[in-house]
């Protein structure tokens, strides 16, 4: 266009007037950090669009699929009614990590979650191991959810009376894995609204179901059921082993931190969403096990496998109950799988932004706005792992890799509080920070010890490989305090 050089410089820029004074607009100290992150650096600013409800929905939606719809059968088989204690242990550990993670997230409200905190707090070595581990941890978790989703999809055929020659869980899981990856490649607008709706529907179905089940178990509707011995024959050990197995049901709260960059008023909404979602699902899990083990003996539940809850519902209200739980199970495992695949691709982005892996991994496709390489790096291995169908192994490796990260999150909190770097100014401070982080960190690492040797072996191998990659590719990257 024609040159507009000095002529229009005349008009005084009125902009600073209304909004230059931060106090006038109600900016608190904490939100200054947020403002600095989002603000225009000459290449545009970032809009935050996920509120508290959205944050809770991400946390609950990611978690609830596993604990209620996949694990009850397996967990009861291993630990009997005390499996509810296993879930409670998991909830306590998750809370002990969620509080320090909340503090770190309000100090660093950026995409990347746990990886970001650890790489900035503890340096590149720990960051690289956790970042690559988080990616693969989410890959394992997604595969686990997909097998669960496949089981529920298979149950649909069963309910419809269609006999299949092979167990359909794994093939269906693989098909869903491919489908979800492709779907996410082409952009899925409104997934947030959909996710909120699914979570609310799930909570309604579950509340009805569990209320009925609890009343039934307490003998309101007839003969009180004779409770089994609470502790399994092996005593406390199976309970702890089960806690390690089912910890996968609590991985979701960290997903809230991975979208920290999108959350509005992070200083308030991040801690609420993380802690709130853990508390909410924890209560649901414990009650679920109580109801399930009251309805059937533990051994019988174990035989039902992944879809044990369908049989529990059937025993209460017959076919409609079974159908409701099949639908709920499909929705829950679907939303867990979907959320994990997307998180895995964000994890890839986070490490590639920091050049721990080549930058091409986070390229976006302009037409669809989606990171196709990162989604491929997530979706490919997920499909392969789903095909193995090893539910327990997939779950434990996912938990292993997350627990390492959780432990290091706690270490990072302690480290940062000691060092007090100038940029570290969290809006939310974890109460009794050192104690909570100390216990949380120890508990996270300790839980790993109760896993099956095979899971520990795979987890350690992945960490060594991640370290090897770091030595080979990224030794010159300095991330500590790079904020």
């Amino acid at each position: 266009m024609d040159d507009s050089e000095p002529a229009d410089a005349s008009d005084p820029p009125p902009a600073p007037g209304p909004d230059a004074d931060p106090s006038a607009v109600g900016i608190t100290d904490s939100d200054a950090v947020v403002a600095a992150v989002d603000a225009d650096t000459g290449e545009g600013e970032l809009e935050r669009t996920i509120g508290l409800v959205g944050g809770l929905a991400i946390g609950v939606g990611t978690m609830i699929g596993a604990g209620i719809f996949v694990f009850p059968g397996l967990a009861a088989e291993n630990a009997g009614p005390a499996a509810s204690l296993s879930f409670a242990i998991g909830a306590v550990i998750a809370l002990l990590v969620a509080l320090p993670a909340s503090e770190l997230a309000t100090a660093m409200p950026r995409s990347g979650g746990g990886y970001f905190f650890i790489s900035r707090g503890l340096g590149t070595t720990a960051g690289a191991i956790v970042g690559l581990g988080l990616w693969l941890g989410l890959v394992f978790a997604s595969a686990f959810y997909l097998v669960g989703l496949g089981s529920y999809a298979g149950q649909v055929f069963l309910e419809a009376g269609i006999a299949l020659p092979v167990s359909p869980a794994v093939p269906l899981g693989v098909a869903f894995g491919v489908g979800l990856t492709v779907l996410s490649l082409f952009g899925t607008e409104n997934t947030a609204a959909l996710q909120n709706g699914i979570v609310i529907l799930l909570l309604v179905i579950l509340t009805l179901f569990l209320t009925y089940g609890s009343l039934d178990a307490l003998g309101v509707f007839g003969a009180e059921r004779t409770p089994e011995r609470f502790f399994p024959p092996g005593g406390a050990l199976p309970v702890l082993q089960t806690a390690a197995l089912v910890f996968t049901s609590y991985l979701g709260f960290a997903q809230v931190a991975t979208v920290a960059g999108d959350i509005t008023e992070p200083s308030r909404n991040l801690p609420l969403a993380m802690v709130g979602s853990v508390l909410l699902v924890g209560v649901f899990y414990v009650v679920t096990i109580f109801v399930a083990t009251s309805a059937f003996g533990s051994a019988r539940l174990g035989e039902f496998g992944e879809t044990a809850m369908v049989e529990v519902a059937r025993s209460f209200v017959g076919f409609p109950g079974a159908l409701a739980i099949v639908v709920a199970g499909l929705l829950a495992t679907f939303s867990s799988a979907n959320a994990s695949i997307l998180s895995a691709s964000r994890a890839v982005y986070a490490v590639s932004r920091d050049e721990i892996i080549p930058e091409t991994a986070s390229r976006l496709n302009l037409a669809y706005g989606t990171p196709h390489v990162a989604l491929g790096l997530a979706g490919g291995p997920i499909v392969v792992l789903t095909a193995t169908g090893q539910v327990a192994l997939l779950a434990e490796v996912a938990s292993f890799l997350h627990l390492v990260m959780y432990g290091l999150i706690c270490v990072a909190l302690i480290q940062l509080r000691r060092e007090q770097p100038p940029w570290y100014d969290p809006a939310f401070r974890c109460p009794a920070g050192f104690a909570v982080a100390g216990v949380g960190g120890l508990a996270s690492f300790a839980l790993i010890a109760f896993m099956q040797p095979a899971s520990i072996g795979v987890g350690v191998a992945i960490m060594l490989a991640a370290y090897g990659w770091y030595r080979y590719y990224a030794t010159d990257v300095e991330l500590k305090g790079d904020f």
Binding site: S4, D8, D11, I27, G44, L46, T191, L364, G369
Partner: protein, 283 residues
């Protein structure tokens, strides 16, 4: 929504320095320095703020005629890019920020050349409405432009519904078109139980106010109509004008089905529509 633009990011890129986006900290500073190397009177405190949202990366560009239409406005030029939820906004900014910024700078130049004050903002978002809503608040925008092109700006249709918020309409119209010779037609569709005399006295009141605000009486016309479907009527009338000014409406069930009234009009009219915003409550 208050948190984004402060100290660091508060100063949006000014129109005259759009290319040197690299150094935001020392952006233009308040009044004094801004004074006149040549151009028109520097005291234009009443320039109405108009938000112009453009999906820059989707190839949306500044429509023809917009610089002329908004020559007297303080234009908030919003380049936005909507990203699917699975992608971090940061990621998109990193990759597309520069391209988008340089495009925006080009548009800002065109607007400034026509005489407008321009402020440029580029936002990567998951939700267009949130972003537009936030910027309306931030700049206290009188109107949002539905960017369509027009050949020239000689006559404008101003659709008025009632006395509520009419002051914002007059501020916008007077701010944009006083001393420009643009013909302004005030339009009112009679509602239930409203007589033609009611309509006339309403429009006459508006007319008087506009004249007080500096419009030439000769440039003003009024038009009253007994229309069953006011939106259709506005769209029909608009065809003999170059641009439309109308109010926003509360979202209702029908807006979910048919879209916002302003959008419906814009779709049929195909020319630029300035949607006057309600007074925003203090947060």
């Amino acid at each position: 929504m208050t948190d984004t633009p402060t100290e660091t990011g508060g100063e949006p890129t000014e129109s005259n320095a759009p290319t040197e986006t690299g150094d935001p900290p020392e952006v233009e500073d308040p009044p004094e320095t801004g004074d006149p190397p040549g151009a028109g009177d520097p005291q234009t405190p009443d320039r109405p703020s108009v938000l112009v949202p453009l999906a820059v990366l989707e190839g949306e560009s500044l429509p023809n005629g917009t610089p002329e239409l908004l020559a007297n406005a303080r234009v908030v030029l919003l380049g936005y890019h909507v990203i699917p939820e699975q992608t971090a906004t940061e990621q998109a900014r990193e990759q597309f920020g520069e391209t988008a910024m340089s495009k925006l700078a080009e548009f800002a130049d065109a607007l400034a050349a026509a005489g407008a004050d321009v402020e440029t903002r580029l936002v990567f978002t998951h939700d267009k409405e949130t972003t537009i809503g936030r910027l309306i608040y931030e700049y206290d925008c009188l109107a949002v432009l539905v960017p369509n092109s027009t050949m020239e700006v000689e006559s404008v249709l101003v659709a008025l519904r009632g006395t509520v918020g009419v002051e914002r309409n007059t501020r916008l119209v007077a701010g944009l078109f006083a001393d420009t010779g643009v013909a302004v037609t005030l339009y009112h569709a009679l509602g239930d139980g409203e007589t033609r005399a009611d309509g006339e006295s309403f429009l006459n009141g508006v007319q008087t106010e506009l004249v007080e605000r500096g419009l030439e009486p000769d440039d003003l016309r009024t038009l009253i109509e007994d229309a069953d479907a006011p939106l259709d009527a506005i769209a029909d009338r608009a065809e003999s004008h170059d641009a439309v000014v109308m109010g926003e409406t509360d979202p209702s069930v029908t807006t979910f089905v048919f879209g916002l009234p302003s959008e419906q009009v814009a779709e049929r009219f195909l020319g630029p529509v300035l949607v006057v915003q309600r007074e925003r409550p203090e947060e």
